[in-house]
Amino acid sequence: MPRLSTLSNPTNLVDIEKQRVSILIDESNKRLAFSLARLEIADLSLPSGLNVVVVARRGNAEERVELGPVVNWNKGFAQLTELGDEGTWSFRVLLVKPGSAMLAAAAENIRPEGQGDSSSFIALEPADLGQRPWEIRILEQEGRAVLCFNNKIYHSSGEAEADKFFLGMILPEAARQLAAWVARNPSALADAAWEGFRDWLALHGITDEPNEENVDAQDEWCATVVSAFCERFQFVTMLAEARSKGVEE
């Protein structure tokens, strides 16, 4: 199967930028629901008569919902019955001609309002984790990972990010776990979704793919990734500074 090229666009699919879309989610009731509150496409010169389809994703589950014609789509909350309670939310907003399966335009990887929108390959999100302080979840289809922190410790990702000790101590291990997953699944790097991570590796001089058969070589590859990651974010300097500041105070 030839690899998809990000440079070709044989079906003339129009990419809708994330900034043009707003999605709200409602988790307050027993059932989950979402609303496509905003979709600004007036200046995109799209064909007329398109319908809106939203694919909601959470964890490894997804659910497709039709919202009607783009000129007057259903802005009310649509219930989602197939998704579980856990995992990171993301949405696809698709515009299709009635009776055709080919996409005319699409907005990909839309995060709902208030859930943050980290484009980094390790995002931070609050989660109910009982007594576990944190855990990492690999989002295979999105080519990134989410560091879920216990929402009893920090209420928002901003709060967690502000705690330099949390970041400095936890992120290197999160990076190692992400690298270890990639090392065990090296074919993932060939997937378009993992392009961002692949580019990041290349930017830091890591051009060798992990060795699928040799566990020691995999460990070595992971260590290289973690070193590059720590070097990039200067965790030790950051932690030392934060500590000395704390002592001075």
Partner: protein
């Protein structure tokens, strides 16, 4: 007998028994009908002497039995004990092999998330309820067999619930109710692969990748079976049926 479920105490006892059971052993009789280990789940009669040719037949049988029930509620946490009880009720068929416990008891927390999809009875019902005849591709096996194909098709919800994907898999990989040769093979890592080697090409693992790529340009949920097979890369041509499959029902208003 009426359809029962295991109580919490019954499930605990069942799990303990599963952990130490040997080949050919049957669950303790109390797990089927004692008041301490079971409770009435639904007031319908079930024939416990029925012999099933494969898990597809079982899934169909239970779907028809539960036709007036809310299927999603049947699959909810609350009814985990019912699926365990059904496994016990037909243990002479489900338990011919000694497989991992999650095939016989609904396991919500495993080493990598929920393993509920690996339950032999529950998944047979769920896949038949969702995909009807097309579920044959993953349920054509003996009652006691899980199988690599079922693992590949059901381990990810976004694949397991994708109507077009399962219908395409059914059309590509089954011939006269049997799995076609090479369907479940995987492409070997590039370092192990010989030049020109085609093992695993066009197989079910590659289908997941191909459909995921198609999703970038098509609303794959509404593609009919024949349309989807037409859009697949050349490597799937060897598996394509000689007679194009009729397009099965397309996506409804809301589909997973």
């Amino acid at each position: 007998m009426r359809l029962h479920r295991l109580s919490d105490a019954g499930r605990e006892l069942y799990r303990t028994w599963l952990a130490q059971r040997g080949p050919g052993e049957m669950p303790p009789a109390e797990l089927l009908s004692s008041a301490s280990a079971t409770e009435l789940a639904i007031d319908i009669e079930i024939d416990l002497t029925h012999v099933f040719e494969n898990r597809y037949e079982f899934g169909k049988f239970i779907s028809e039995l539960l036709v007036y029930e809310d299927a999603k509620e049947m699959l909810s946490h609350k009814n985990d004990g019912m699926w365990d009880w059904l496994t016990i009720a037909y243990f002479s068929q489900f338990g011919k092999k000694v497989s991992k416990p999650w095939h016989y008891t609904v396991t919500r927390r495993g080493h990598s998330g929920s393993l509920a999809y690996r339950h032999l009875a529950r998944t047979a019902f769920e896949m038949y309820w969702r995909h009807r005849e097309a579920s044959l591709v993953m349920l054509h096996v003996d009652m006691s067999t899980w199988g690599d194909l079922a693992e590949q098709l059901t381990s990810r919800q976004n694949v397991a619930y994708h109507r077009g994907y399962i219908q395409a898999a059914n059309a590509l990989y089954l011939a006269e109710g049997k799995l076609r040769r090479g369907s479940a093979s995987r492409v070997r890592p590039i370092k192990k692969r010989k030049p020109g080697e085609t093992i695993g090409k066009g197989g079910v693992a590659r289908l997941a990748l191909a459909v995921r790529r198609l999703c970038r340009t098509y609303d794959t949920h509404i593609l009919g079976t024949a349309e989807m097979i037409d859009l697949l890369p050349k490597e799937f041509k060897n598996f394509a049926p000689k007679v194009p499959p009729a397009n099965q029902d397309k996506g409804a208003t809301t589909s997973a």
